[in-house]
């Protein structure tokens, strides 16, 4: 393809779509500019709403300047887990006997979700030790037998886990291959592709993933149809992930849990972009809504990952989810008579009827903010009579809570920027201790869609290394992470390492250390990632 003489390279147009519970937003971007933005209603069939949004942003874009890619972020998967609807029943095969026998797959699931998802459960001999030796030889006959029995039940969704598979994935991979042999229609999720060390949390992530795959296939088909109907059928289609990177749609079909929390992530990265401070790379992002305030931390432009288990619908999981902190504080929060307590109760979406400034009778954070002169909303005369002591105390309460929450999200004491988005943004003080500058983000309404449009391609390695020094462990992890980023469609000339950390492991022999490295890049243009090599997700070995 030749660049058009009058403009930038034809493949520089990007479309980001955010499918939320009520709204579907889309943006068209070229380079760093938002050319168009559109907000439409989410439709029950999803396809028509997305197609409408795509048609609107791509309207009158000449065909030779087709979008170089379309990235969609969606809340489908989160909603499915939270409501339990749309989840498939899953067969579990764990490789690791005689280890961990007494705590089988699903053992720590909440009852309701377990009843919905738990299918037949098998534990077979195999797996590895922390130093890489096998625990026991893989019991191939037992795996085949499990596969045949799963096939007889008619189930297709299968999750396979193995003890220490993040260290040595061969047992898990072999078990999956054997299952495919006897049950060719099985769709198999392998735990090491998702999570890190921590058997139950990683296995739970795999079980949830398997349970979401039929829905993911339907959603992906809907997005493909929508792209076609919306005039973007030729552009490579990507799905946004929890970690701020993208997956080709066919990979997202296989790993829906990795897109489970892309909403908050896209909100953060989109806000950073719209603030014009995305060059700052490290920032705390605070999103003040009606009932809650959500905070996250962007490290090198990507959301920091939660260091520990994250509960999803009551299931303890251990995989790449953004580290989020939620405060019961928002524009609709109720304020006590002395101003010392703000929230957790909130009028929520009824603020425009119940708030004082709107003629209602409930004293909310918005009313106090207006009385303090921080915001111009509704009728300020209606809050003239609020006592000054209350307003002062309110200001102090909110400042303390936000300051503390911001500090909790920072990785260290150094000052960093604070990016503020959301309808209640005025609640955040202009000066916050430990913050270099407070930046209020303009028109954050489509921040999620922007976050999707700008998401990059990444590769991550999280492994325990034995018997190598620190530098060598980093070197090997980095080389592997680069390979993964390239396989996911990254441009080899524009890769950068955005995360490098290690943790020495107590007690383990041979100077063991856990090393995490993440490499990201922009997607290679011209080479449509659709036709690239298969992309192993992070964590695979």
């Amino acid at each position: 393809m030749t660049p058009s003489p009058s403009g930038p390279a034809p493949r520089s147009l990007r479309v980001g779509v955010d499918v939320g519970g009520t709204h579907t937003d889309a943006v068209l971007m070229r380079g760093r500019r938002v050319l168009r933005e559109i907000k439409t209603a989410t439709t029950a069939d999803v396809t028509s709403g997305v197609a409408t949004a795509l048609l609107a942003v791509l309207d009158a874009v000449p065909p030779e300047r087709a979008a170089s890619r379309v990235v969609v972020g969606t809340t489908h998967f989160t909603n499915a887990v939270l409501t339990g609807s749309g989840l498939a029943r899953v067969a579990a095969v764990r490789v690791g006997l005689p280890a961990s026998a007494s705590l089988p797959p699903f053992c720590d699931w909440p009852e309701g979700l377990r009843e919905t998802v738990r299918g037949p459960v098998f534990q077979v001999a195999g797996g590895h030790e922390c130093d890489g030796r096998p625990i026991a030889p893989l019991d191939e006959a037992a795996v085949r037998d499990a596969g045949r029995r799963i096939r007889e039940t008619g189930l297709r969704e299968v999750a396979v886990s193995a003890v220490f598979s993040p260290l040595d994935g061969s047992g898990e991979a072999r078990a999956a291959a054997l299952l495919r042999e006897v049950h060719p229609r099985a769709r198999i999720t392998e735990s090491r592709h998702l999570g890190r060390i921590g058997l139950l949390g990683r296995e739970n992530a795999a079980l949830l993933n398997a349970s979401l795959r039929p829905l993911a296939a339907r959603v992906a088909a809907a997005f493909r149809d929508a792209a076609e109907a919306g005039g973007a059928g030729d552009a490579p289609l990507f799905i946004a992930r929890n970690d701020g990177t993208t997956a080709r749609v066919e990979d997202a079909e296989r790993f829906p849990v990795l897109s489970l929390s892309s909403g908050p992530t896209n909100s953060m990265t989109g806000a950073a972009f719209l603030s014009g401070r995305s060059g700052a790379r490290d920032a705390v992002v605070v999103d003040v809504g009606g009932t809650t305030t959500d905070l996250g931390f962007l490290r090198s432009g990507f959301p920091r990952e939660a260091p520990r288990e994250v509960e999803i619908g009551g299931v303890r999981t251990l995989f790449r989810m953004p580290d989020l902190l939620s405060l019961a504080l928002g524009g609709g929060s109720l304020v006590s008579g002395d101003g010392a307590r703000v929230g957790p109760a909130s009028v929520g979406f009824r603020l425009p009827e119940e708030g004082l400034v709107f003629g209602g009778s409930v004293r909310t954070a918005t009313d106090c903010g207006v009385a303090a002169g921080r915001a111009e909303i509704g009728d300020p005369r209606r809050v003239r009579d609020l006592p000054e002591a209350l307003i002062r105390r309110f200001g102090k309460t909110v400042r303390e809570r936000i300051t503390e929450a911001v500090d909790r999200m920072k990785p260290d004491a150094r000052p960093c920027p604070l990016l503020v988005v959301g309808g209640g943004a005025f609640l955040v003080p202009r000066h916050v201790e430990g913050v270099s500058e407070v930046v209020t983000v303009p028109h954050a309404g489509v921040a999620n869609a922007v976050g999707a449009a700008i998401a990059r391609v990444g590769g991550e390695v999280d492994r325990v290394f034995h018997g190598t020094d620190r530098a060598e462990a980093f070197r090997r992890a980095e080389a592997e992470a680069r390979q993964r980023a390239l396989a996911a469609g990254a441009d080899p000339d524009r890769l950068e390492t955005v995360e490098r950390e290690d943790l020495p492991l107590a007690y383990l022999p041979g100077g063991a250390r856990r090393v995490r490295v993440r490499v990201v890049g922009d997607s290679a243009e011209g080479l449509s990632p659709r036709f690239g090599a298969g992309s192993p997700p992070a964590g695979s070995t």
């Binding site: 026998a101 922390c130 503390e404 920072k410 383990l508």
Partner: protein, 366 residues
């Protein structure tokens, strides 16, 4: 064997035990979550855990002293299993030619507090209301039995594959620890153990009495405070006569692994009543010594805990991180750990600090 009935613990008491044990872990000892899952399952299947006081033991009753030995990280993949926990006890009973009357924990701090209950769920023993650390410590010679110079053998270790190692004799508790470590590493850095069996008389004279009750008491205080929306940390302090040492936020954290231990220090900048002060908290698996503006204000063997001010959750030395709002509290340890002889094994010098032990709780004895 005497007829040992004991007090039955219901499901909510087992949850209390886990919560209290996590506090007594002083930042180490391993999170009891997986052991708790095992016990919940066993209790659903009809297991009724029983606890007996030390006084219920006859002088010659034999008691098995159990623990899981190994790396906390390995315990995240190779999960605790009651059948494996019971194995060294079965083997030692065979070896001794006589049955055990009861089982007890090596350490009440962290996941090992639940180990005797895992064993009991398989064999039906009562659990003795005692341990020999009164908290969590990193090494086997840091016990009241070792301090008292009791016999350290036979020591039995079993893995998941039916490998069993018995240390027939060891020249000292330190040797027993060294030999044990080699075997543990070989079987995958985690194993179930039964230390040298103890008689009722030895337990009466040399164990720490009431350890299980103490963990239950702390857990109940946390549960009740949570139900009432009250301050959980204050509830623990009230229940235990503990001290609030410091309120602040974690400003810096440094970790390193040397000779198999997670060592390091956390710097906590004062807030509120401690504004302007700095607390430096050193750890070796567990929190060991606290310095306020350079002066020691709390030290091992007394129990130092770091609790998240927002959630009331105790923070382990592996997860403490920058920005956390924390309260550092001190709880008393058993008097038996504070004798001059005991301090050689568990006092600040045993952890490499050139300090004389200065107690926060001179009257001693929780």
């Amino acid at each position: 064997m005497t007829g040992l009935a004991g007090v039955e613990l219901g499901p909510s008491r087992i949850e209390d035990l886990a919560a209290g044990a996590w506090i007594l872990g002083a930042g180490g000892g391993g999170n009891p979550y997986h052991s708790l899952l095992n016990l919940r399952a066993a209790m659903r299947d009809g297991f009724r855990p029983r606890v007996i006081p030390v006084d219920a033991l006859g002088d010659n009753d034999m008691v098995a002293v159990v623990s899981t030995m190994g790396a906390p990280l390995v315990g995240e993949e190779r999960l605790p299993d009651p059948a494996v926990a019971a194995r060294p006890v079965e083997i030692l009973a065979e070896r001794l030619g006589r049955p055990f009357a009861a089982v007890m924990s090596l350490e009440i701090g962290g996941s090992n507090a639940l180990q005797p209950f895992l064993v009991a769920s398989r064999i039906g023993f009562p659990v003795v209301d005692a341990d020999c650390m009164g908290r969590a410590f990193p090494e086997a010679q840091m016990t009241t039995f070792a301090i008292a110079g009791l016999r350290n053998y036979p020591f039995c270790l079993a893995d998941i594959r039916d490998n069993v190692v018995i240390v027939e004799r060891a020249a000292s508790w330190k040797w027993q620890e060294r030999l044990g470590r080699v075997a543990v590493t070989e079987v995958g850095s985690i194993a179930a153990t039964a230390k040298a069996p103890r008689t009722g008389r030895e337990i009466r004279n040399h164990a720490i009495h009431g350890s299980v009750t103490r963990a239950l008491r702390i857990g109940a205080a946390i549960r009740e405070a949570r139900q009432q929306g009250a301050d959980r940390v204050q509830a623990v302090l009230d229940a235990e006569g503990g001290l609030l040492l410091f309120t602040g936020k974690v400003r810096d954290i440094e970790r390193r692994t040397t000779r198999g231990f997670l060592r390091g220090r956390a710097e906590i900048a004062g807030l509120g009543p401690d504004d302007g002060a700095l607390l430096e908290l050193h750890f070796q698996n567990e929190f060991a010594v606290a310095f306020r503006d350079g002066a020691p204000v709390g030290m091992t063997p007394e129990i130092l805990c770091v609790v998240d001010s927002a959630t009331g959750e105790a923070l382990g030395t592996e997860v403490i991180a920058y920005g956390q709002r924390v309260r550092v509290i001190a709880l008393d340890c058993p008097a038996a750990l504070k004798t001059p002889v005991a301090l050689e094994s568990v006092g600040p010098r045993a952890f490499g600090f050139d300090l004389d032990f200065r107690p926060l709780f001179p009257e001693s004895g929780p």
